[in-house]
Subunit: 364 residues, 2 copies
Amino acid sequence: MAGTVTVPSASVPSTPLLKDELDIVIPTIRNLDFLEMWRPFFQPYHLIIVQDGDPTKTIRVPEGFDYELYNRNDINRILGPKASCISFKDSACRCFGYMVSKKKYVFTIDDDCFVAKDPSGKDINALEQHIKNLLSPSTPFFFNTLYDPYREGADFVRGYPFSLREGAKTAVSHGLWLNIPDYDAPTQMVKPRERNSRYVDAVMTVPKGTLFPMCGMNLAFDRDLIGPAMYFGLMGDGQPIGRYDDMWAGWCMKVICDHLSLGVKTGLPYIWHSKASNPFVNLKKEYKGIFWQEDIIPFFQNATIPKECDTVQKCYLSLAEQVKEKLGKIDPYFVKLADAMVTWIEAWDELNPSTAAVENGKAK
Amino acid sequence: MAGTVTVPSASVPSTPLLKDELDIVIPTIRNLDFLEMWRPFFQPYHLIIVQDGDPTKTIRVPEGFDYELYNRNDINRILGPKASCISFKDSACRCFGYMVSKKKYVFTIDDDCFVAKDPSGKDINALEQHIKNLLSPSTPFFFNTLYDPYREGADFVRGYPFSLREGAKTAVSHGLWLNIPDYDAPTQMVKPRERNSRYVDAVMTVPKGTLFPMCGMNLAFDRDLIGPAMYFGLMGDGQPIGRYDDMWAGWCMKVICDHLSLGVKTGLPYIWHSKASNPFVNLKKEYKGIFWQEDIIPFFQNATIPKECDTVQKCYLSLAEQVKEKLGKIDPYFVKLADAMVTWIEAWDELNPSTAAVENGKAK
């Protein structure tokens, strides 16, 4: 039978879960007033703020939060020439925060995301739900029709093979959005008034072999298990494309999780996404991506990682090679992106020498 | 953008949907008093009742329902020696009803399933939801994080390839159960008091390449698209196994849907499952299946159907061959089952000559 994860059920646990093992990464260009609303849930945790755009601007952080803040000058100073792999003027810069974190878990959230309410009207502690998702196993190898079998009141249904009921380690927890849904520019334009008001009370594992669109707005992951695959690519200033940073990370990450038998969940928790970005600006950023993804998706659907790749880093470098070879034909951008993927791994290993050593040791 | 299916939203549509194109198939051993509760929803439709067990017993059907009833004598008379493929003393006999139906759609329900209520307290018209599911496309090739993109108020999210937004034809709609969950005997024994009270307001496509445990309690399908794959196998009297009838059909059906690019949905609608079957009796029926499924699942996960199989019948016969060859090694039962699968297709084509002709014509 499935064991349920015993996690306090109150919205504000008396001892915050994983308090010293989780960083909250926030990319921003403005004062972080949105944190006021999250104070009861986030204050016990350490924040890593990645300031995008003009580094001379001062970002105000509400009092009482424990944080470190990096602007572009900091990124350049810390990474030197390898800073070229971190996007500028795009929220893709958030992945720098993943790299400098020293914790096992990361939760990342956009600064236009507020606390949502569940159908009973109670504030949703999004972080607590992500932690529950990450601490309980996933079921990537077979589909359970009653959703998460590890949740209280649920289990595996008749016909679910017993040998698969231990599940897999969960690497990623992808949360959803009430109010403004995460639509692309064409959909935004056609449905400017559409709001998401449906609260679907479920967490599910994205099955092995299935790709999905991972949104970076409300996302948590296990850095030790999958961190080096969470590179948000080259977007924004000087790049021909934007708004595909999280998608790119999601596709790379999923192929690697499938290879390493790790699980990826989507569903709860919801956040309240407060405002739609400008669809005209978005269209400009997205339009090449809209064409390119028609080739990118089949590429990732067919990508296979050699058996001998037994660390995330090795898997990622193998993917980078395949990106250069196969997607490089579509546009020179992908050659540049493939090189940046390699630089990212070099920078990751430089800043995380112990993991790199462990990983390399494990690999030998 | 996704088009939404325009279907009347009232629980009791003034003109019942697909009134002349859908049969309700019910396997039973008792009087069908449960139909009283379903009267507002089922009365406009034609019922096919498959009487299991003693054919001399009279099954009472509440007044006002339009039905045909088949007992074992009828099955033997209609199918002759081919009747051997229809199970006896097991609800697997329901698939005889699929075969004799002359309609495009079939909904099948167990006689211990009652009308459930949605969270607002309204009676759920399960049949109407199944019809909505069948009439709108599926999305087997890529995962949409906001669930069914064709539902009102929803759409495809950012990063969903535009070329895949037409979706695939939906062949199967698998509904769920409130109250008594569909657990196997071991889980029933360990959790005798577990009840499902979680209403998950979602319909999702089971992704291509992913198997799931299909339950026959609350199930609808498009007979024209997938009917011949809906064989519930050899269970019950004289067989070494029970309670794997729907599972077997689900695994065969899913492999064929994946091959033919058809969609399979699960989620809404819920029915109220009134009583748990006896776990001790269930264990006796299931225990060989519990072992065997550890081999059956990998078998279906790795089964490939030759490209030239372009009808459900051909796909099914190819699977039967593979079952005999590969699962026959586990137990002689699978050789018998593989033969029954062939008999089933012969019987299907005999009773459905026009489809068979069309299919054969199409195949040439």
